[in-house]
Symmetry: C2
Subunit: 368 residues, 2 copies
Amino acid sequence: MISWNRRSVLQGIGAVLASTALLDGAQAQSVPKRKIGYAVVGLGGYATGQIMPQFKNCEHARLVALVSGTPEKLERYGAEYGIPKTHRYSYAEYDRIRDNPDIDVVYVVLPNAMHAEYAIRASQAGKHVMCEKPMATTAAEAEAMIAAAKKAGRKLMIGYRCHFEQHNRRAIELVKTGFVGRPTLITAEHGFFAQGGQWRLDKRMSGGGSLMDIGIYSLNAARYLSGEEPVELVATEWTDRSDPRFKNVEDRIDFQLKFPSGLIANCVSSYSSNHNGFRASGTKGWVGLEPATSYEGHKMWTNHEGKTEQVTLPVPRKNQFVGQLDHLCESILTGIPLRASGEEGLRDMRLIEAIYRSARERRAVSVA
Amino acid sequence: MISWNRRSVLQGIGAVLASTALLDGAQAQSVPKRKIGYAVVGLGGYATGQIMPQFKNCEHARLVALVSGTPEKLERYGAEYGIPKTHRYSYAEYDRIRDNPDIDVVYVVLPNAMHAEYAIRASQAGKHVMCEKPMATTAAEAEAMIAAAKKAGRKLMIGYRCHFEQHNRRAIELVKTGFVGRPTLITAEHGFFAQGGQWRLDKRMSGGGSLMDIGIYSLNAARYLSGEEPVELVATEWTDRSDPRFKNVEDRIDFQLKFPSGLIANCVSSYSSNHNGFRASGTKGWVGLEPATSYEGHKMWTNHEGKTEQVTLPVPRKNQFVGQLDHLCESILTGIPLRASGEEGLRDMRLIEAIYRSARERRAVSVA
């Protein structure tokens, strides 16, 4: 195991560090000091366990309001985070966020099928929107969300936290700066064992199965690692419909993406096995992470001209959650372009629809 | 990293050790001491660099004859291995092996398209045959080879050396004994950068591209790890036909296999990226090797109930090459069934044809 700083084989180190400086907020001195207020909509496990505890580490973001259908949750988390009763909303009261000037951003952390409605109503209330991925259940919904934000003159960002995670960003830069040579094959696997009874297994709530939920990480990683947009894809679904969990969503779906350069990505999405990793291979070597898109504990390996090494990165100033929350604030405060815009989310939605179409029609689908 | 002997989580250790005892020749006391004489046909890099140096470590096999079209090679390797001039043959003299009682086995290490002819002629000469994989370029050829060996009453074994490699065998046993729970997904990647000008890129000599050459390791591993035979498969080929290397053989071909239990294997075969690994994942964990099917340097990892560990195995008494060479001898001497028979090779050939058909016709193919 070597530390990042001692690496000698790295090409383009300047570019890597330059881009990471921005990530770590080194340019924050030029950002106005006003804190941006977030309302979190939907107090499930991800919101309460991962996102809300991170506001205290943010430079620009603060938690100012909560929206939930469960009074006990509003009471509990309102007390825990010091959110006054005036800033706690039921879904019936949701549109009243319009009248609360403390709320700049609405963070939608609801089941997928509710994303479009709650994001659009937030835009209509004059608020910026952060929305969890997948941004919607269809590309049409995603387009409506983008249109609503545009009409309101407000930001729409999608919660692609990996875009702010340092191991993922290093991997992107290593591919971009030629460390692996010409990239030729990306493998990306994501999966976990889905437990029965969850909303994710109800298509009306989720819009789909493992692909919508966890396979989207394989898809998005293939795109950000390659820096290209696919032109063709082939997908195969493997679902045991006699399994009560999979009455109306898919279990496994494997898909291959072809990129303009000739690069191929072979992606796994599964509700019946644990996976969390990717590797970008090229003419000179590869870079891989496992776990790659987890909340924490990322591990990175590189192979360059035959030599494989585990790479340890220094602890970043901001973790992926903080980086994501602050980034939208910086975009609001300074006008810098969003790294994970609604358009980025829409690209995944269109590809997800194409993947489902390919699997359904059992043929390659052009997505150029 | 832990040593194998200290593992406590392992299930079925008895079965693992019992099966490995055979591999290590612990039952060799019951094998007659007569050494079996091999003629190696084709003195290319694999024969001269990997196989021939291993005879000195064999318990039952010895190198007694050489066949080559290059007089300089016969002279050089004949001298190096102490093979008298009477036991060196040109291809024109090949059928004269019939009259050499020192030759028990003919090991065919020729380009794929020559396997069937030279194996069948060896059978007709009354010799046992070891043949490199892929055993032929078509299933029909493979069937003819099996028929010829059967008619001659002689053995036909295919050079699946991984069946004799201890990390691979441990992985098989771990899957078989429930260490990973119910297996749900196997990923297997094999590839290397094919250099122009080699016979492997000439379909008349190779019968096909990366699948015939290196992807067969992904295919065979999926079968031996699962212990099942696939019932359905889907394949997608990705070849840049403007690349002069790929005028008539494929570059990349990805294929997915569905097994009767519902297990899926997602396999990569590539002439444009380096890969050598597989992983079998199930409901309780996984076992993976990387490199998995190399000549040496195998590394093994296991994951059981959330804990990932690198596993070090003791150095075996016989490496995979020696194990393979001696196994055929033991089968000849004692009548034990072959672990890698012609029928085993034929199964791969039929699947390879189905993979090509699926890629060509762009549809799932039933192989039940």
